[in-house]
Amino acid sequence: MKIVDPVKTLQAKFADGLIDVDERSSARVYVSIDPARVTDIVRFLFEDLGARFIIATCLETRAGMEILYHFSFDSLGVLVSLRAVVPMPEPRIDSVSPIVDGAEYIEREIADLFGVEFVGHPNPVRFLLADDWPEGVYPYRKEYKGQYPYRTEEELEEVREQIRQRGTK
């Protein structure tokens, strides 16, 4: 499919899914989307328009967890960033990994560091955090001030025993 203006194409296709389109410059476009429509829009960009998925970015704002999906139209030199804001305290969004293979790791990373749940992720296991990192502590959130959960020697031994029993796969 030959595309001339990806933003116009996107606007025509998803009139209801787009909240705001901000064409910052000829090479940078930020599109706010309805989080519920993320898989449809990503599928359209990646499969139909042939955009390359660069990476996703997550950051914590007052409105909630803001997830940006950066796509590149290399032949046009246009970078389209989809912005989906998911509300706290339980941020949750559909996973795009079943569509975009290259999104699997970054979604696991965001789940580890920001505690965003990606619904339908094919392999939702830890990616960055250590095996003995406690549940519910998300190091890249603003509330986290760099404290590693302190453990006594007995507690450490307990963790070691757990890891021993689990074994290496």
Binding site: G50, R52, I54, I55, T57, H70, S81, G102
Partner: protein, 401 residues
Amino acid sequence: MKTTIPVGPYHPLIEEPELFRVVVEGERVVDIDWRTSYMHRGIEKIAESKTYDQIVFLVERICGICSTSHPIAFCNAVEDLTGTRIPERAKYIRSVVAELERIHSHLLWFGLAGHYIGYHTVWMWSWKYRELVCDLFERISGNRQSYAMLKPGGVRQDIKPSEYKGIMAAMDELEPKMNMFIGAVLDDPVILARLKGVGNLSREDAIKRCTVGPVARSAGVDIDVRRDYPYAAYDQVSWDVITQTGGDVLAMAVVRLLEILESIKIIRQCIDQMPEGPLTEEILEVLPGEGIGIEEAPRGECFHYVRSNGTKVPDRVKVRAPTYSNLPSFRSRFIGERVADIMIILASIDPCYCCTNRIVRIENGTSVQTFDEKALLEMSWERTKALEKGLSHTAGRLLKL
């Protein structure tokens, strides 16, 4: 019978220790899984407490080999965020530094690739020529690595006109040697037998798995940030994007070797056309907003995202190094390959080198044999030797050259 070989967590080839679980049946690989972050440094989190000028030094330390790629990407992001247009001379200096770095990085990779397949002549040659570039860097910036040339809005140090002659002389010395080197390497039947058709990556897979840089270009995906999103002085000089087909290790080697020649071309033109003028454009304030900076590092596209809240420190910095995008391609490339080829396929995407390593062979859940880097290298070398025997009439041609 299926056997799992964990490669890592202290890994022979990748800069950050990571664990590959390679499932093999006999000699052939049937599956691969990946686990990382044994050495996560939290640079993105640290960046949230540093000023924009300081972060340039911080991101320079993400990678020791491509130590100018991350600063360029970050500066691009800050300039995108503030709408700064950098002076012409700064653009040219950035291009010269980035291309010199590409030459030394590709030569470093080729030397290591030669080492992994047991071709130590290639290794020594490649690193010998790399010294030319490292010496140039020392003259220009005072450092062989981590040059600290960049700052948001321009460059920190000038390349003095008195240095032009030395740079041109080094390029003149390097070019014929590179031509000879490329000819010798691509002519060698044993190297061809070791690299050709190993770790194939189809164009569809390269696109589907979102690969970037030389990995994507070797599979026939025509992308290059320098051309698609021009930054520095790349839109003012003439050069070509190198692509190959097949996506095997040989295609990747060819892409990298030919890119060295393109880099030499770019550096010559930049020095010839180097305009006079100031080195930096002052950035007085950073308003709330966001910016994206991308840069073609030697290993592929390097991506930085910066969100500002109007204070002197950013709200969020996101860094995506090229290897992150290239690792998923292993899934396509490993299946069906030989264990002896693991080393060269892992090396082919040019991950950076890390300290120690160990490989344990596990059968039925218990460790029966521990391979270290030496053992794995010997397996790889044995295969080269066996090939050499089979091709004895042509073997050793490289040594005679």
